[in-house]
Amino acid sequence: MEKNNCLQVNDLSIAFGGIKAIDHLSFTVNQGEIYGLIGPNGAGKTTVFNCITQFYKADHGDIQFSNRHGKVVNLNKKVTHQVIHEGLVRSFQNIELIKDMSLIDNLLVGAHIEYKSGIIATGFRTKKAKREEEMQREKAVKILKFLKIEDKANSHIGGQPYGVLKKVELGRTLMSDPKLILLDEPAAGLNDHETEDMSNLLKEIRDEYGCTILLVEHDMRLVMDVCDRICAISFGKKLGEGTCLEIQQNKDVQEAYLGKGD
């Protein structure tokens, strides 16, 4: 793995009941870039995410990640809940936020691994536990402000508009000081204005927070607007990898999206 590489997926394959969802897929995400993973419906994009974050165990191939300490680790050797410790965090396609909790509490869940105090310390409200909580709350408020939803900090998630929910999910990923963020369709269900807002947020996250972003998206305007590089896949196979322009001109990609033109 080269020095400026952040994530390297090598020869990844996974099959469900004989059907190959991902077929010898390889791609590399560089440090500090926004990398888009695109493809028609059922191409296996979310499956790639699930393999990287260890929700699925790949049948074949490995996933090298340069973790928050700059050490290269093979993510396949990790259990699902350990992945975030390496500095890699994800969002979900169908928003996985907790309805009975407020916005800020949902964000605080993102900082779960940052806490050191356990049940006894928090139960007795030791000074250390209190300080820790205050620190994380301040961080959460800052992120809410960055996302421009701080006025809703104490509102419940239930009943919030889609645009807000997408932002909260994004905010939750930021809470763990991640190095790489995996976003599964960050613009799905957003209107034009909200999508533009999201594009700007993603760029700001890359530039100000210094995070690398790998995203899956159907909304091509967003992809073309924010992505530094793109990988297009179809039926689990790579069609092409390159800059937006290169992908737009790629014959295989055009075919996969528009069908064969005779």
């Binding site: 800020i104 509490d105 779960h112 800052k142 402000k145 900090a153 104490n154």
Partner: protein, 369 residues
């Protein structure tokens, strides 16, 4: 990402300051408002009220039997608070609660009466052993789908029942086991009144302890796990560990409840720790209100207090066998179907309705004129 305190202040103040001259103070408040203040005062006041009850009995305001019933309500409330961490916050069901309670009760009775161990040490041992057994059962069943815990604990409580009958050296079998009121530090001998007050202290202490850890990382992790296991895992929450934590809390509180039971009622009988008791404890939180600290207390009063204090006084039907079960059973079904947040929200909802009604009334007044 982490900026120094002062920088942070600037960022925070920039928006909230606005038109206010005293921008800095306002901003400080803005940060604090976000964390709700713990209701310690209300809990302590409630405790104070409970402590006054035995005195009220001495003054002849309430009957002696009422104190016994209220004592029952208190230790079942403790068991309920623990169970709520499991069911309310984690969405898991245990049907072994009565078994763990019974184990705590028998152990403490045996340790204090037969082995002459100090009361406080006996509490520690009588809670630790059920806790360890509970954790082993949890470790096996919680790796699987959530409903396996209910079945595993159901099977284990059958084993416990057999143990309570057969281990006569400890439990005294079918004749039942006697215990005394607690004796603290070997000198302070509690009477019924002091035991009652001691139980109130334990209840209030556990309410505060539970409130604290629920409104922290632990509680959030449990709620997240309940809402979305995928999100929980992605955020680094070890599912097995937190399910075990919740089950451990429920088990430990059940054992504490059992210890208090045996030193307040001063008697334990093997068939008392049956499935019906476990179900009644589930009813306590379902009826009282899940995901609250206060709910189980109200629930305990409804499930264990109301049948004894009110239903039994009713003419004709008061003497009918099974009335308490029917009452609780129907309440469970009705609450789950129509009022899933539990009775503890009743006061709030009535207030809301009242306000709405008044607003509505005011709006209509001009029209009617």
């Amino acid at each position: 990402m982490r900026k120094s305190g002062e920088e942070r202040r600037e960022i925070d103040g920039s928006k909230r300051g606005g038109s206010d001259v005293n921008g800095i103070e306002k901003k400080e408040k803005g940060l604090k408002v976000i964390e709700k203040k713990p209701p310690y005062k209300a809990y302590l006041l409630f405790g104070l009220f409970l402590i006054l009850l035995p005195t009220a009995q001495k003054m002849g305001l309430i009957g002696s039997a009422t104190i016994t019933v209220l004592g029952t309500v208190i230790f079942y409330a403790i068991v309920g608070i623990g169970m709520n961490v499991l069911l309310g916050y984690s969405g898991l069901i245990s049907l072994g609660t009565a078994g763990f309670m019974g184990m705590g009760a028998y152990m403490s009775a045996y340790l204090t009466a037969d082995l002459n161990l100090p009361f406080l040490l006996s509490i520690v041992v009588s809670v630790s052993i059920p806790l360890v057994i509970g954790l082993v059962i949890g470790l096996i069943s919680l790796r699987l789908a959530g409903y396996y815990l209910a079945i595993a604990t159901l099977a284990v409580s059958e084993i416990f029942r057999q143990v309570f009958i057969e281990f006569e050296a400890v439990t005294n079998g079918f004749s039942g086991k006697n215990a005394a009121y607690p004796k603290l530090f070997g000198i302070i001998q509690f009477d019924r009144q002091l035991t009652f007050i001691f139980m109130v202290a334990v209840l209030i202490g556990l309410m505060i302890f539970t409130y604290n850890f629920i409104h922290s990382r632990t509680g959030r992790a449990l709620l997240t796990m309940r809402g979305s296991e995928a999100a929980a895992q992605a955020m680094g929450i070890n599912l097995l560990r937190y399910k075990l934590t919740a089950f451990g809390i429920a088990t430990a509180y059940a054992a504490i409840g059992g210890v208090l039971y045996v030193h307040f009622i001063r008697f334990a009988y093997p068939s008392g720790w049956n499935l019906m008791l476990s179900l009644q404890i589930l009813a306590v939180i379902v009826i009282g209100g899940m995901q609250t600290i206060e709910g189980p207390i109200l629930g305990s009063f409804i499930v264990f207090g109301v049948p004894e204090l009110i239903l039994k006084q009713l003419p004709v039907i008061g003497n009918v066998d099974g009335l308490a079960y029917v009452f609780t059973g129907v309440l469970i079904v009705v609450v789950i179907m129509f009022y899933p947040n539990g009775m503890i929200r009743l006061g709030n909802d009535i207030k809301k309705l009242w306000k709405k009604g008044r607003k509505h009334g005011k709006e209509q007044l001009p029209a009617s004129e």
